[in-house]
């Protein structure tokens, strides 16, 4: 795919930082506002798609590396399963950070209507981050594979 014109590339350079930032905002605030792991990961992957379309097939392999994204995807999943294993003292998937109150990470549990506090809800933000990393890497690998698989068009 041929890269797009200079105007598009300039705007992409400025804009992709904000898209990735918004994606991570949606991932981390998953327990307070609508969003969470999958939605935020899809937003970050759309930034990857923007970069791929604007820069063309020759330059995108310098920016995004498929092997690193594969390893990140597998690590995100393994982190999710290990977080679920840590609650095995009671049952699997037990929210040990919200009930025990002994480890001070994300351990407040307000009840009812409240102005949302980021420091709440136990292991749910950690699982959101793990799922978000996994989804953004998986979607990045899919986008790169399908993009690099096109036949050569007429290069000018």
């Amino acid at each position: 795919m041929i890269p797009m014109s200079k105007i598009v590339r300039t705007i992409t350079n400025i804009l992709y930082v904000f898209i990735i930032g918004f994606g991570f905002y949606v991932i981390i605030h998953g327990h307070l506002t609508p969003g969470g792991g999958f939605q935020g990961g899809a937003v970050v992957a759309s930034a990857f798609a923007l970069l791929a379309v604007a820069y063309g097939r020759k330059k995108i392999v310098n920016l995004l590396n498929k092997e690193h994204l594969s390893v990140a995807e597998v690590s995100g999943l393994l982190a999710f399963i290990c977080l679920a294993f840590l609650g095995l003292g009671t049952v699997f998937f037990f929210n040990f950070l919200a009930v025990g109150r002994s480890i001070p990470i994300f351990s407040n549990t307000p009840a009812g209507i409240n102005p949302g506090d980021l420091n709440t809800a136990g292991i749910m933000p950690l699982m959101n981050i793990a799922v978000g990393v996994e989804v953004l890497s998986a979607l990045g690998v899919i986008i790169l594979t399908m993009f690099l698989g096109f036949k050569e068009g007429k290069e000018k």
Binding site: V71, L78, I81, F85, V91, F93
Partner: protein
């Protein structure tokens, strides 16, 4: 301490293959041997755990596991009126199918260590096999309808990606496309039925739904939709076209695992018919419909298998016929729905045939995979005279042939005799058609035996060697199991199958645990 470990076993058996699928990818980047040893240890641990859980359930009764509660059996917390959270329920039928699944996966893994070595992309192959195993065990252990949908989709996606393993051939991609379209359509139908249930009752646990169900008109529609979806995924007659394609184009070990996936869909059908609906339906009519579907599958499967040229497609059509036998027996059992009499024997025969079907078709697909590994061909017209070079493979194929056709002393004979006798008391015509179909199946496989193994020696196969020892060992273990189950079937039926069938008929125990 021991009781503590056994309490957590239902979820550990699902999660260890899931964890292993992704850890294997990381190990595969280090070295091949480390990955093989790690995968072998994980599968061995899973096999041991499932046998321990089986012994516990056969002595003590069923087990319930709630994910995320303060204790494993607290399905309904204090001040709640209905159960919440994802609940796993393991009773005698679930653990019976779980033992079959994990044992066959373990044997297939040892087989594919050598058989898949010369292909690239074996990293992804092992990841997908472990994901498929986790999906199938999830279908068998869950007690929740929506969880069933999720694990059904996991098994479909992993299975379709494995069918397209040979990416240089065009037919594999076409077969995998058909498989994923049919599989995902059937899973969406299950989701439609889940939405119908949620709209009326606000609950999705199978046990709780069985208690509160009022059998209104929408529930009958939901039953029709669920029956269509599970029959589609199991490969019975209206939608059987994906079976010969997918089994013919997949590698041998993959096809043996896909047989287990379609038997898990058969388990889901049993669970919905007996435990979710119970006696509230008109069991005579529904039993007749299921039995007629089974009969059509037997007829179509055997008659199409007579004219095939491709080794894998032929065994695929045989698989359609075997699913027809299971549906026939289960339909008769459902029509009677009693714990004495010929209906109960038919139900036991159906469950026994699930076990035998997994073993027999697994052996046949492994023989097909061994022939592909040794010669690189699958077309019956091009093979010939292999018995001189591959003696042991030929002996295992003869054993598998006798088992599928129902000759004594193999296990196929025991379960088919039970099916013939109990279905004869239901309706004699069904039983006669089933016996004729078995005779045709014997004719089909004798033709395959002659054209692949016997006959004059061909020049291009003079340098073909016997397959490696690990593959022969796996086929030998399955053959020994076939002969042992065939020689003493009454031990198996009384100790293993009887509790499973009684767990289906006495559905009050399952519904009372929630």
């Amino acid at each position: 301490m021991f009781e503590n470990l056994v309490m957590h076993l239902p979820i550990l058996i699902i999660v260890i293959p899931l964890f292993g699928a992704f850890a294997i990818y990381l190990f595969g980047k280090v070295s091949d041997k480390a990955r093989n040893i790690f995968a072998f240890i994980l599968l061995g641990v899973t096999e041991f755990l499932v046998l321990v859980l089986g012994k516990d359930i056969y002595t003590n009764g069923l087990r319930v596991y709630t994910l995320g509660a303060t204790s494993a059996e607290m399905t309904t917390p204090a001040n709640y009126i209905m159960p919440v959270r994802i609940i796993l329920v393991v009773d005698a039928l679930s653990i019976f199918m779980g033992i079959i699944t994990v044992t066959i996966a373990f044997l297939i893994f040892i087989f594919s260590l050598k058989s898949m070595k010369e292909y690239s992309g074996t990293d992804k192959y092992y990841t997908l096999m472990f994901l498929l195993l986790a999906g199938i065990i999830g279908i068998e252990f869950t007690g929740d309808l929506f969880n069933l949908f999720v694990f059904l989709e996991i098994a479909t996606i992993a299975g379709a990606a494995l069918v397209a393993f040979f990416t240089h051939k065009a037919e594999s991609a076409e077969a995998a496309f058909k498989y994923v379209v049919i599989g995902s359509l059937s899973a969406l139908l299950v989701l439609f039925a889940v939405a119908l249930f949620y709209g009326q009752y606000d609950a999705l646990n199978i046990g709780y739904l069985g208690n509160v169900m009022e059998h209104s008109f929408l529930d009958k529609i939901a039953f029709g939709v669920l029956l269509t979806a599970f029959a589609m995924k199991a490969g019975s007659v209206p939608m059987h076209m994906w079976k010969p394609d997918a089994y013919g184009e997949a590698p041998g070990p993959v096809a043996a695992m896909l047989v287990t996936a379609s038997l898990a869909s058969m388990y889901a059908l049993l669970r919905v018919c007996f435990t979710l609906y119970g006696r509230g339906l008109n069991t005579e009519v529904i039993g007749w419909i299921i039995a007629v579907l089974g009969l059509l599958s037997i007829f179509v499967g055997v008659s199409m298998a007579l004219i095939q040229n491709n080794f894998g497609r032929l065994i695929g059509y045989t698989a359609v016929a075997e699913v027809g036998f299971i549906l026939l027996a289960v339909g008769v059992g459902f029509a009677e729905f009693s714990s004495t009499g010929f209906g109960f024997i038919a139900l036991q025969a159906g469950l026994f045939h699930i076990l035998n079907d997994a073993l027999d078709l697994g052996l046949l697909f492994l023989v097909s995979g061994a022939v592909l590994h040794a010669t690189g061909k699958r077309n019956l017209n091009e093979l010939g005279g292999l018995a001189r070079n591959m003696k042991y493979t030929c002996i295992f194929f003869i054993l598998g042939l006798c088992a599928v056709a129902g000759l004594p002393p193999m296990n196929g004979f025991a379960s088919k005799l039970m099916i013939y006798e109990s279905v004869y008391q239901f309706n004699p015509v069904f039983s006669i058609i089933a016996i004729l179909a078995s005779i045709f199946m014997l004719a089909v496989f004798v033709k395959v035996l002659y054209s692949v193994f016997l006959g004059p020696e061909l020049k291009e196969f003079s340098s073909v060697k016997e397959v490696p020892a690990s593959m022969l060992l796996v086929m030998g273990v399955i053959a020994v199991l076939i002969i042992v189950i065939g020689l003493c079937p009454d031990i198996f039926v009384n100790w293993v199958i009887n509790p499973a069938a009684r767990a289906l008929i006495d559905y009050g125990i399952y519904r009372g645990m929630i």
